[in-house]
């Protein structure tokens, strides 16, 4: 069902914009996904929900995603249960 959803989504992008999703401008990408999101708002098992789920996991377990947003600390060496949060600093991530 997920693969089928991807196919339908690609065809929709092609029909509407004459280009696959990856080639769209940021604005058009936003609109294209927005349509899916709206259609899916009350359906827990919809294509959009799955797409979103796997995208979030995929992105934040990728090296690019982790390094872009977090301070990657695979070897913390100590544990502090109450470290003061520094505003604006990137949060730690361990694994």
């Amino acid at each position: 069902m997920f693969l089928q959803g991807l196919r339908t989504f690609s065809v929709r992008c092609l029909e509407k914009y004459g280009m696959p999703y990856a080639g769209l401008s940021a604005e058009n990408q936003r609109i294209a996904l927005g349509v899916e999101a709206e259609a899916a708002c009350d359906q827990p098992h919809s294509f959009y929900r799955r797409l979103r789920y796997w995208t979030v996991i995929g992105y934040f377990t990728s090296e690019v995603g982790v390094r872009a947003h977090f301070d990657y600390q695979p070897m913390p060496a100590h544990f502090n249960p109450a470290e003061k949060v520094v505003l604006g600093a990137r949060p730690w991530i361990y694994v």
Partner: protein
Amino acid sequence: MGSPLPHHGKPPDAIVVGSGITGGWAAKELCERGLQVLLLERGPNVVHGVDYVTEHLAPWMMPFRGKIDRRRAIEHQPIQSKCYACDEYASHFFVDDRQHPYESDASRPFSWIRGYQLGGRSITWGRQVYRWSDLDFKANAMDGNGIPWPISYADIASWYDHVEDVIGVSGNRDGVPELPDGRFLPPMPLTPVEMALQTRLQTSFAGRRLISGRVAVLTVPHRGRAACHYCGPCERGCSLGAYFSSLSSTLPAAKRTGNLQIRTDTIVERVLFDPSLGRATGVAVIDASTHAREILCAPLIFLCASTLASTQILLNSRSETFPGGLGNSSGTLGRYLMDHAMFRAVAAEAPGFEDWTVFGQRPSGFYIPRFRNRDGHSTDFLRGYAYQGGSFRSSWARGLQGSDFGVPAKERMSRLGPWNIWVSGFGECLPRRDNAVTLSDGPADTWGLPRLKISFAWGENEFRMAEDAALEADLMLAAAGFKTTRNVSDDPIAQGGLAVHEMGTARMGDDRTQSVLNKWNQVHDAPNVFVTDGACMASSACQNPSLTYMALTARAATHAATLYKQGRL
């Protein structure tokens, strides 16, 4: 008949079956008392450090980003993958369910979570260690469920000391009578959220305490092992040996004596009994890869193959003298199986602590010791439960909820989220005759051995307890100002087996018509056979059991070595 292995030229004094938490302990104690030990392990060798192949790997280095390969899991580990620790990083330390089948009732399945390798489940275990007290050892005698324990806290206290000294336990001396203090290294600290709940319990819930988890992970260097570096996922293995496992602790100690020989890939099929001598003479084994059969003899035999595997060996040791299995003259072998009732976790958001976060990953949490039915009986169920819990500031994973996308969503998810706190109750399981294992008449396994058949169901008492535990968790979290968010799973009690605290089936007792083992873990019917893993347990208490297994093993091994050297075994 019998070909005792050349063991530095001498036959072994003792055969130890299994190299997990209890087998490692038996080997160490026997070797240190001068006995030549042959340790038999059915699984492959695991070299400490070298074979922790996923240690410190980032998710992007794993083909499935750390999530288990679903297709492989469906085929090879449909049962093992129900255990939280069996993910892509650690699944190689869990058995292949297809290779190691057993039977259980489809309508109430029992999940038998296993690790067949050198070190057993000591590689993947959760490391939480709590002593039992006489509230637990006297429970059977008090309410008539099960049979009285043949030992009390006084018999085991010094063995707890000994075990804690060796394995290294981080914890606080909390002064809770029902959860005796031990020999502790500095505790792992609590978070501000946990301290707030701790204070709340003190002020508003008489008799309830929140304490730091007691955990077999080192906060300071200890006996040649390094302190924890707080990387997080212990179950992948720790080359620094910061947590206790057979591989980091007991097996190296046993090896240092020069008295240990290890044979891996060797499946113990049964114990051989000589009726004319009234004792066991050795074990029959099968080479796991060639399927070659062999007999190994020794005057002393320690079964430490884990609760159900040791009972399986005894059941399979059928003879004319013992048609129902070795040690089964009482008819209780295989019966009174227990596991801890693992209640549905309760989670909450804890507002007001946004200025703080944690640095590092603490391989432990907090603990709320049993507070029900401590002095007399005041609930609609018998005995009690304890909670384990933890807290953390949520990270990107909270982004899985919601429907936003694009750059703003990314920004939102990568900011520190709210504090979350969760508690999960572990309830005592009453010993029941019908919760039992037998040998199946169905198809044998790859090695021609009968499969184990497991019948297990939770009882009314556990369900009542689950209700109470859920209610009380809500009350306590709410009193601390936390907002309960959701119940994490659906069933009020997880499937039997999933607490991985399976115990009983060869219980200890003074009355040999009602039990399999005596107070020294000796088989009543074959005094040179000792069973010291969880099979020996006559009740389950609600504390994680492995510390007690270790203490009983050390105690039994010392007793056996003494008798043996006096020529009395």
